[in-house]
Symmetry: C2
Subunit: 211 residues, 2 copies
């Protein structure tokens, strides 16, 4: 139910179309799940509102209770996927013994999510063209979360202290890019063991490659 709550609170932030009842949230969830399938299979420009309402088994009028347009639905879907990834990974982070162990668990959990929801790449990547603001927001938000974790690790003395004001931001974007490409290669295109991939990657960010 976490994902439903996310949409009600985040995808509709400040708008008057957010569902107010449990039934409304369930209908909205059906529309978003159908949108993930439709956009994931057909791409943004070939997808239609009719196609999505048919997959969701809801009336066309119901769609417009929640969204003004295909563009508005797509923006909500990017927000929803972004929040679902975050919520999927959160318990792994909570179980961590230290900052870098957290990054390893987060990556393993992310690889599992990507393997189970391969369409997430198509949705986020197509946002670069269909909704550039949503695309940029997704990555800036994700990188900020990673940078905050690294800063906390530095404050605790677990990580090497930043030598430049850019360090944590560079490190956060580096780790995010690493995770995105490892997901593409080993979870979407391949099916290697997420634990093994996350372990290899963690050795790299923990100790580096220099002998």
């Amino acid at each position: 139910m976490a994902a439903t709550r996310i949409v009600a609170e985040e995808a509709f932030a400040g708008e008057d179309k957010a569902p107010r009842t449990a039934r409304g949230r369930k209908t909205l969830r059906k529309i978003l799940d159908a949108a993930l399938e439709e956009f994931g299979e057909r791409g943004f420009s070939e997808s239609s509102i009719v196609g999505i309402t048919q997959r969701a088994d809801v009336a066309l009028g119901t769609f417009y209770t929640y969204f003004d347009s295909k563009e508005a639905l797509f923006k909500a879907l990017v927000s929803d996927m972004s929040a679902r990834v975050r919520d999927h990974v959160a318990p792994a982070l909570e179980a961590a013994t230290d900052t870098l162990d957290g990054e390893q668990r987060a990556l393993e959990s992310y690889l599992q999510f990507a393997a189970d929801h391969k369409q997430v790449y198509r949705i986020i990547d197509e946002a670069e063209f269909a909704d550039p603001d949503a695309f940029e927001k997704h990555y800036r938000t994700t990188a900020s979360r990673i940078a905050a974790r690294l800063d906390a690790g530095k404050d605790k003395g677990e990580l090497v202290a930043a030598g430049s004001p850019l360090d944590s931001e560079v490190e956060a974007w580096a780790i995010m890019g690493m995770n995105v490409f490892l997901g593409l290669r080993f979870a979407v295109w391949g099916d290697e063991d997420p634990a093994e991939v996350a372990q290899c990657a963690n050795r790299l960010i923990r100790r580096g490659l220099e002998r």
Copy 2:
């Protein structure tokens, strides 16, 4: 002239439309440069062959001497951009004192290229939808080159030896993803000093973040 040679040899590999004269290669270069502008500004679906030939100041018939379709031109452009990035970075790698110094120089050089050719992101990223085979080939080829450099560094004893058969491939995809996202954030969206960004990122892959 390196880029022109690349197209003649690589984008047309095995096809009979490759230009055979210096004049033909120059015309082809004009078409590819115009295509970069047109696809970069308008996106694949909104771009037209007429728009591209007008930008290039070549006749429509000339276009068909080299390409059968907009799709064929786009494929050649992805191949061309991929090769141009490689050739831009090559001298930086040749000047390196060791493997990880090479990665730092390569990243700095890549960030400069991305800052000067911001459309490269739009072209490569749109290939995921317009030409998925070209998209996959670009990243697999790039990752293979990085993995080969890491393997050479391991053979020379400069880098920690691989503990798992997946190590070099995971490390290569991690470094590629890191470089792509650092370029997006700091060269396309921002304009931070490429040398400083590359130095921060290199500290991460050289020694890791653990204190």
